[in-house]
Amino acid sequence: MQTVQNTTTFRTAVLSVVKHSYVPLGVASHPRFELVVVADDDSQPEWVHERNSLFADQMSIPYVRDVQRALADYDVQVAVVSSEAERHCDLSVRAAQAGLHVVQDKPMSTKLSECDRLVEAIQANQVKFLLWNRNHLPALIEARRAIQDGAIGQPYAMHLDFYFSKDAGPPKGSRKPGDAPINWLQRQRDAHADGSDGGVGAQPMGELQIEGIYPLAYLHMLSGWEVERVYTHTAAQFHQANVDNEVDDLASVTLEMKGGFLGTLAIGRIGAASHPDIGEIKVHILGTRGALVISEARPEVSVYYRGQPATEFRNIRVANDNDYQLMDNFARAIDGNGETDLDAPTGRTITAVVEAAIESGRTGKPVDVV
């Protein structure tokens, strides 16, 4: 019997797009999602409107400086949120309350209480929520398949390396006497051009908070383990903006899971000089009958040539279908086929792990995840 594929198209509103545009573009990579409007609150500062307007122009869709009006006027079923991190949940909650399914950029929020509010709104309005992630990268799919096939038996320990070899403004130690501390938001705004503005927002965030979702989502997908307790060391070793704003750019975390499973996370924004590509991103998994060593970047193709810019990656990732697969999963969830790959409760749980890790780094003690 041939399966009839649902081809319903979801009209999608982009609620703020001040960070990279990869999330709304990822949404648009799937034929069932059509970006029809960009919207944001009129009260937002002018730089926000400029970015929103620019993206709207690029996509040849209107920009409306009134979220509620845009949602009412454009007959949308889905919202994609890519604002400053501290506004993520509020925009998502408002979309959910309007009956829209929501795709949201990471991190879920800078506050756990906001995550709780979002979880409640998603459940109360019976809509679907997807927190953007990298779980459908080819290497992760291979890892999941190997585990499911029993290649290493029952996993009992997992180690995650998530280093972004990117710069983030002036290096540590570059601030001269009398210089003002680097303003976090301004630095993030300045970084927009080179794409290193993952922490855009008024509230400073360390790498644990900005990127921790990705490796912790790997842990969740590959094992389903529940993190109960964490022990963390954090440091600002590389970037003056992190030093000035007292947030980490390097962290190591011991992960203690329910059932006695163990693991670790090493994460950092370690500077462009530290790797020829985006960074060393690996998953090491130990099981009762073997072990897996996975490089997130693979498969990749190496390209070298005369005059190659120093900032150009020498190894190019290929066969990356993450965006489409994420949105396909989201579409199927909307169609009634279960939850998304990274739903609101799971996103909230990961945020709680990150929050506990930051607290542990601050206190030097193990911290229970709540």
Binding site: D161, L262, G268, A273, T288
Partner: protein
């Protein structure tokens, strides 16, 4: 050319005074004496002492000598003037005592790592060598692996800046040669656990050039997946360990080690993130492929046993040059001390602060 000429001259002069090495004991799992004696400069192997005479003869033949003894006592009583230094490879429980006996006999010592089964014993061994004015080197052989030496050299050159985050994965198959006393006590398991941990700890201490200030350890059995390790305080069950170390200047290290891989090859990976660069020494990046139908099989590019020769050569050179070897007794004592802190952390569930 000038440098080459000087080196050749030095070697010629040095050859006038060969260090005579005696090998004491036999330990297949930590083969300190596996090196090509023909490639050793300014030293020669002159005797082997081991309770198993057949084993002693086998080792002696491999090292180019025919002089064997069945015990340390016999070696000292009958051949004390015939050797200058000893390579001790013995069960951990007896190492510190053998070191002290060698020091008392005025012999320089290279002892396989860990130095001792406890910090106190390591102190005693180290102090005995200091009192006797003999050189003590601890055989933490991982320092001499070519890949680790390359990382250390990059760090020492300053190209990587200060060490910030060290990550070590070391996975091994179960050690089928490991033996326990007939009625093992908690101390025996304590010693075995120190044996599991001290090598990687020494590597971390070396790269950070100091001791950690805090130690957090977790351990579990790989075969009891559903058990709660935090309630299990029996070291004897553990074959998986992970350490989380804090070093001065915000340095940090994550180390995981298992002896539960299926029989076959081991896996080693070391990455060092420095403040201005990084180094990645990972078996994963050094694999060949074999195609024999079905999925390809990985064949690891091996580094060989050359590091064991390098280790012994360093010991010999330190004696000749009357300097500390790169792995001193204090280094060996530090590794044991940190391993003991890790065990304490595993048992209590709390980080241990080191003075």
């Amino acid at each position: 050319m000038w440098t080459h000429h000087l080196l050749a001259t030095e070697i010629f002069l040095a050859s006038k005074t060969m260090i005579r090495l005696a090998v004491v004991g036999s330990n297949p799992s930590a083969p300190i004496s596996i090196f090509d004696p023909g490639r050793l400069l300014r030293a020669t192997c002159v005797a082997v002492a081991h309770a198993d005479l057949a084993g002693a003869r086998e080792t002696a033949t491999a090292l180019g000598t025919r002089v064997t003894f069945t015990s340390w006592d016999q070696l000292v009583q009958q051949h004390a003037e015939g050797f200058d230094a000893v390579l001790i490879q013995a069960p951990l429980e007896s190492r510190a005592e053998l070191v002290q006996q060698a020091a008392a006999a005025g012999k320089h010592v290279l002892v396989e790592g860990p130095l001792a089964a406890s910090t106190d014993l390591a102190d005693q061994a180290t102090e005995a060598c200091q009192a006797a004015a003999v050189h003590l080197m601890v055989g933490h052989e991982m320092r001499f692996l070519p890949s680790n030496m390359a990382v250390a050299q990059a760090l020492k050159s300053g190209r990587l800046g200060e060490p910030a985050l060290l990550r070590i994965h070391h996975w091994l198959p179960a050690d089928t040669t490991a033996t326990f006393p007939p009625d093992p006590t908690g101390d025996a398991y304590h010693a075995v656990t120190i044996g599991h941990l001290a090598g990687e700890i020494d590597l971390a201490n070396w790269l950070f050039q100091g001791l950690p200030t805090r130690v957090y350890g977790k351990a579990r059995s790989s075969s009891t997946v559903q058990s709660d390790s935090s309630s299990d305080t029996q070291l004897k069950d553990y074959d998986y360990f992970q350490l989380h170390l804090a070093y001065p200047c915000d340095g940090m290290a994550l180390i995981d080690r298992t002896t539960a891989l299926p029989a076959g090859a081991n896996y080693f990976s070391l990455s060092l993130i420095g403040t201005t660069g990084a180094a990645y020494a990972d078996d994963h990046n050094n694999m060949h492929l074999a195609y024999r139908g079905g999925p390809p099989t990985a064949i690891r590019g091996v580094q060989g046993d050359g590091h064991l020769l390098t280790q012994v050569q360093e010991f010999v050179d330190a004696i000749h040059e009357d300097r500390d070897p790169v792995v001193t007794g204090r280094d060996g004592q530090a590794a044991v001390r940190v391993a003991e802190a890790a065990i304490e952390s595993m048992m209590t569930g709390r980080p241990v602060v080191l003075d």
